[in-house]
């Protein structure tokens, strides 16, 4: 347990560092230090993907929503997979990148590409390597998303109307520090936008790369750290609109070194069907793994019943990458998405 405390502490320290890189001055805030939020259709963490910590294999291709941290745990099942922590952030804005305006986001592919980059780091405990600490890093780029909310001009107009002040400023008005206040009209604008988003047909395409390493015997000495997996993938998604159905297709190249076999490589390719509801997402997937020479499949349900928390359960037929054993695994669990940005 000690090594997990250390790795979580390292990750949390990094989260704080990234947060403060944009938060060097704090305005007066009457809303508390943190607000929590779970967004709709959040793509999976690339760093979790390379550790096989995501409950699904076929990933989403949609635009990332915001800085998120995922605490994934299968503690509900009590099985042998232990918790993992992933931190995803956008490197462009975190390290000082700027946009001129919404119009620049819409018109400049390069800026949009940078604004939607998703860099992630993660750590997890795995029974595949019980004596080692596993860690990973990944990068994900959205190549195209026809349903990107920033292109919703109606949402832009609704926000602008909601932001107009109700009262005139007095002649000696002086509130330079500012305060963060609730605006119910903004919430309504996003509720309407979400409905439009769900009913709109459209596609997206994303590219990712991730690397996983392990610190053998929990040692961070140079000769104890080895990489054991690389993977790169391309994923496409098409949403059918009003039916709430979505299809995802993915092809992934994976290279790995395991204690049993060195220099394993091959492709994982497959499709997933998803049904999006307001509070529940159901999905089924099937994929071929050329490394294990197997066809695997699974079902997955994700419930958004509590703010900032996703409850999920997946049932998968999997072939263990290390032992080659086939098994049907039930994985109930919890994902905690939280973002610090509401000051």
């Amino acid at each position: 347990m000690e090594r997990h405390r250390i790795s979580y502490l390292l990750l949390i320290s990094f989260i704080t560092l990234i947060g403060y890189s944009q938060d060097s001055e704090l305005p007066v805030d009457n809303q508390g230090a943190y607000a929590f939020k779970l967004d709709y259709n959040v793509p999976e963490s690339p760093a979790f993907a390379v550790l096989d910590a995501n409950p699904t294999t076929i990933m989403r291709a949609s635009t990332p929503q915001e800085i998120i941290t995922q605490l994934a745990s299968n503690f509900l099942s009590g099985n042998e997979v232990s918790p993992g922590l992933a931190f995803d952030f956008n490197p462009y804005f975190a390290f000082g990148g700027r946009l001129k305006s919404v119009k620049e986001y819409r018109n400049s592919y390069g800026k949009r590409f940078l604004a939607n980059l998703q860099l992630s780091i993660a750590t997890i405990n795995s029974m595949d390597f019980p004596d080692d600490l596993l860690f990973s890093g990944g990068l994900r780029a959205t190549l195209f998303d026809s349903k990107d909310l920033i292109f919703d001009e109606e949402l832009g107009k609704d926000i602008d109307n909601a932001l107009l002040p109700d009262t005139d400023p007095g002649p000696m008005n002086s509130d330079d520090a500012g305060t963060v206040v609730d605006n119910p009209a903004l919430k309504q604008a996003y509720i309407n936008a979400k409905t439009r988003y769900m009913e709109k047909a459209g596609g997206s395409l994303a590219l990712g790369y991730a690397i996983a390493g392990r610190a053998r015997d929990n040692s961070f000495k140079t000769d104890s750290i080895v990489t054991y997996r690389h993977q790169a993938w391309l994923v496409g998604q098409y949403d059918f609109g009003k039916s709430g159905m979505s299809i995802n297709g993915m092809i992934m190249y994976r290279y790995e070194q395991t204690p049993q076999a060195t220099d394993n490589d091959g492709f994982i390719s497959g499709i997933a069907l998803r049904k999006y509801g307001q509070k529940l997402i159901l999905s089924a997937e099937a994929y071929h793994n050329s490394i294990t020479e197997s066809i695997d499949f699974g079902g997955y349900a994700e419930a958004y019943l509590i703010p900032s928390i996703t409850l999920f359960v997946s049932l998968k037929k999997e072939t263990n990458a290390i032992t080659g054993d086939e098994d049907v695994i039930l994985k109930p669990g919890i994902k905690w998405n939280f973002s610090q940005a509401k000051k």
């Binding site: 990332p64 946009l99 001129k100 620049e104 107009l164 400023p169 002649p171 305060t179 940005a341």
Partner: protein, 147 residues
């Protein structure tokens, strides 16, 4: 009142244009009001709604002539939020422009909440207009006048 709250303008110059900008895809809506002190009481003379929108910039021109605007107060109240998912901070500017010259600028870098959270940053301030004695006067000229 800090000196930065005074805007020196040429009374014989052209009309005053006020430009508001917000970068990083931050959206803002604001109200600007021009107040005049008459018989010890502030009277509202002009009012403008300013929305920076998709372009991140908006501007308006004060109808009042510059030679009639001394000691008037231009006050504003701005609401802003971030519409780009990964943006937490943005730069705002308010500039008073006369005959193509920047007469006064106020810039600030601010943390802004996400529009999608139903929250906005509310801030505001004001500036008092003063007439320039001479557009080209220097400190040495001023000392000569004093002597």
């Amino acid at each position: 009142m800090p000196k930065s709250n005074y805007c020196l303008i040429d009374p014989d110059g052209g009309p005053l244009k006020v430009r508001v900008t917000a970068n990083n895809g931050i959206r803002s809506g604001s109200i600007f009001v021009l107040w005049e002190l008459q018989n010890g009481k502030w009277e509202k003379k002009e009012k403008f709604n300013v929305i920076t929108g998709d372009d991140g910039v908006d501007e308006f021109i004060l109808l009042e002539k510059p030679n009639e605007i001394e000691n008037d107060s231009l006050a504003w109240s701005i609401n802003a939020c971030s519409s780009i998912p990964n943006v937490l901070r943005g730069e705002f500017s308010i500039t008073v422009i006369q005959d193509g010259k920047n007469r006064w600028t106020k810039q600030s870098s601010r943390l802004v909440p996400k529009c999608s959270d139903g929250k906005q940053l509310k801030f505001g301030n004001h500036v008092i207009f003063k007439h320039l004695i001479n557009d080209n006067f220097s400190t040495s000229d001023l000392w000569k006048d004093t002597e």
